[in-house]
């Protein structure tokens, strides 16, 4: 493309040179282009905000993985002689809360809880949803009728409402939230993957694979599902943010993580009564959750721009 542009700006070239040039370009075009991941990475590194979102999410993942191991104190240990220490106090980088517990140590455990629910459950529901959507969209028939019926039942239901109802069943704790996120979010993945598969299975390359006797499983795995990855990934980054917000929200109300296990929601709730004098007890977890949710949203928006070819405009 760029070759042709430079050529157009040099009108002195003869028609023969033009033909030779285009012939060369065809050859260039036949060479394998950069891989899907490679070109996605190139686009990502160009889009600064998306890159920032990606890096922040990675930092959080590292914090969640290794933070609790490296934490300077036991997250549950109270020290009533050292309550409300300001951030930067010796031995307590982010200060202490109303029970004298080390906020940094609690924060990294809370991040682990948030991310386990956010990423963990979203990963599982993405796998289940993608499989269900692929089966429904590829085989149609009764399988589609049943799966679409279940999607219809669950999709679009407010996560928080389901989580609260399930809390009624299981009692307060993370179990109800995990179950609610899993029950509702797979349907979102199943829905978009099904629609995508239905349009893909009629395309020539799938028909061609069919004609030369490639098995259904291989067609799905090699030719159809890779093409569904983009919308599923975009959805995943938004769903992770959503799951994190719902977990924190219910924990804030006292229906989620139960003490002594810290969650960003419970930490905000415990600190909110001390906002006037010792605001950091609440603001530190508050800012922590805003940053990760913003980062995931930026990542989702950026991925949509990068991976969705319909939006990729010159």
């Amino acid at each position: 493309m760029s070759n042709r542009d430079t050529l157009a700006s040099e009108p002195s070239k003869t028609a023969g040179a033009l033909a030779r040039h285009w012939a060369n370009e065809e050859i260039v075009a036949l060479r394998p282009g950069p891989g899907r991941l490679q070109s996605a990475w190139r686009a990502l590194s160009k889009n600064k905000l998306t890159l920032a979102g990606c890096i922040i999410a990675l930092i959080y993942i590292l914090l969640g993985l290794f933070g609790p191991v490296l934490a300077p104190h036991d997250y549950a240990r109270q020290d009533l002689m050292a309550t409300f220490l300001k951030p930067g106090s010796p031995g307590h980088l982010l200060g202490t809360d109303n029970y004298g517990r080390d906020i940094l140590s609690r924060l990294v455990v809370a991040i682990r809880v948030s991310l386990s629910i956010g990423f963990g459950i979203t990963a599982i529901s993405m796998i289940v949803g993608t499989l269900a959507g692929a089966i429904a969209g590829y085989y149609r028939g009764w399988a589609d009728t049943i799966i679409s019926g279940i999607i219809e039942l669950t999709w679009g239901f407010p996560l928080i409402l389901i989580a609260v109802i399930l809390t009624g069943a299981f009692g307060p704790g993370l179990k109800a939230i995990v179950l609610a996120v899993g029950l509702i979010n797979w349907a979102g993945f199943a829905r978009i993957v099904r629609a995508e598969v239905i349009s893909l299975r009629e395309r020539e390359f799938v028909q061609a694979a069919h004609a030369i006797g490639v098995s259904d499983g291989r067609i799905l795995a090699r030719h159809i599902l890779p093409n569904c990855l983009a919308p599923a990934l975009v959805m995943a980054s938004n769903y992770v943010a959503l799951a994190i917000i719902v977990e924190a929200g219910l924990s804030f109300l006292g229906m989620g993580a139960q003490p002594p296990l810290p969650s960003l929601g419970t930490m905000i709730a415990e600190g909110k009564n001390y906002m006037l004098l010792d605001h950091w007890v609440s603001t530190i977890p508050g800012v922590t959750i805003v940053i990760i949710v913003l980062a995931l949203n930026l990542l989702g928006d950026g991925l949509r721009d990068i991976l969705d070819p319909r939006l990729r405009r010159a």
């Binding site: 609260v164 299981f170 109300l253 605001h279 949710v293």
Partner: protein, 306 residues
């Protein structure tokens, strides 16, 4: 249209039956039973058994379900286990408060979100556009309970302008409405802006410009109307979200609505109340989704229901 409505209504009925069974069974799963809520913790086992018999809890769950449904149909909603209040009375009082808060939030969402989206798209890359984008990103990034904590700190603790919780004067309504509307406003604004930008590049806009219509007539009348369609369809879906967030916002501000009541009932294990209001909210979500589909068809005559 008639056939479509009939089929959708049938599907809605199926969803409601499944949902009611699911709600009914899951609340029966709960550890402990209602006798632990109302009776003295030291009550003897015979007393508990008698109490369970009185509530019909000794029968199999499916029998209880049919009894419950037939009572529901006859309008017998039962009473709260905690304070003996008639659920019908709770419904009237708390439902009204929720409706007020919900309508206020929907109004604020669209009165701010739609014009801001139109202006941001019309004056692309201007200061207003950048402001709108910042509002959009922040509105979607700040969880509503954290926004509530910040607003209470600012307007109640620091400035003493607004009460931090309670009901039912207009000043009690201000902060819950802002918190409930924040995310929806951000989403509506972003969608309206994106949808406007998509419409502005279309041929009919060029035709209008060629005809010599003023830019504001084109943007305000023609483009905005076409751009509203996807926003309306999402508005319907957002009612479900709004109901979800209501649970958190009403509880934080102790606004006596259905959301507050449901969270309270779940925490206190007031099963008849939790059951009825769970079903009520599920029903509202399902109906809202259906209405959203129908509104979509009215807004865009090109859509035909088969």
């Amino acid at each position: 249209m008639g056939a479509y409505l009939a089929r959708r209504s049938l599907r809605m009925a199926v969803i409601l039956i499944f949902a009611s069974i699911a709600v009914f069974y899951s609340l029966r799963f709960a550890p402990g039973d209602p006798s632990g809520v109302t009776l003295n913790p030291l009550a003897r086992e015979e007393v508990r058994a008698a109490y369970r018999r009185q509530l019909g809890l000794d029968k199999p769950i499916y029998t209880q379900y049919f009894v419950y449904v037939s009572n529901l149909v006859q309008g017998k909603l039962g009473v709260s286990l905690v304070n003996g209040a008639e659920i019908w009375d709770l419904f009237k009082e708390y439902g009204k408060n929720s409706l007020i808060l919900g309508l206020a939030a929907v109004l604020v969402t669209h009165i701010i979100g739609i014009p801001l989206g139109i202006i941001a798209a019309a004056k692309r890359n201007s200061i207003i556009d950048q402001f709108a984008t910042a509002v959009g990103v922040l509105g979607m990034g700040i969880p509503n309970f954290w926004l509530a904590v910040l607003l209470i700190f600012l307007f109640s603790s620091k400035l003493h302008w607004l009460p931090s919780a309670g009901c039912c004067e207009p000043r009690h309504l201000v902060m819950p409405t802002i918190v409930l509307a924040a995310e929806g406003t951000a989403v509506t604004m972003r969608m309206m802006r994106a949808s406007m930008l998509e419409q502005i590049s279309q041929d009919f806009v060029r035709t209008h410009r060629a005809k010599g219509l003023s830019e504001w007539t084109i943007i305000g009348r023609r483009v905005a109307r076409a751009a509203l369609i996807p926003v309306i369809s999402v508005a319907g879906l957002r009612i479900g979200w709004l109901i979800g967030y209501t649970l958190i916002v009403e509880t934080i501000f102790r606004w006596p609505g259905v959301g507050y009541l449901l969270v309270d009932a779940v925490i206190r294990r007031d099963y008849p109340v939790a059951q009825f209001f769970s079903l009520l909210l599920v029903f509202t979500v399902v109906v809202a989704n259906l209405l959203a589909d129908l509104a979509y068809g009215i807004a865009d005559p090109r859509i035909r229901y088969e």
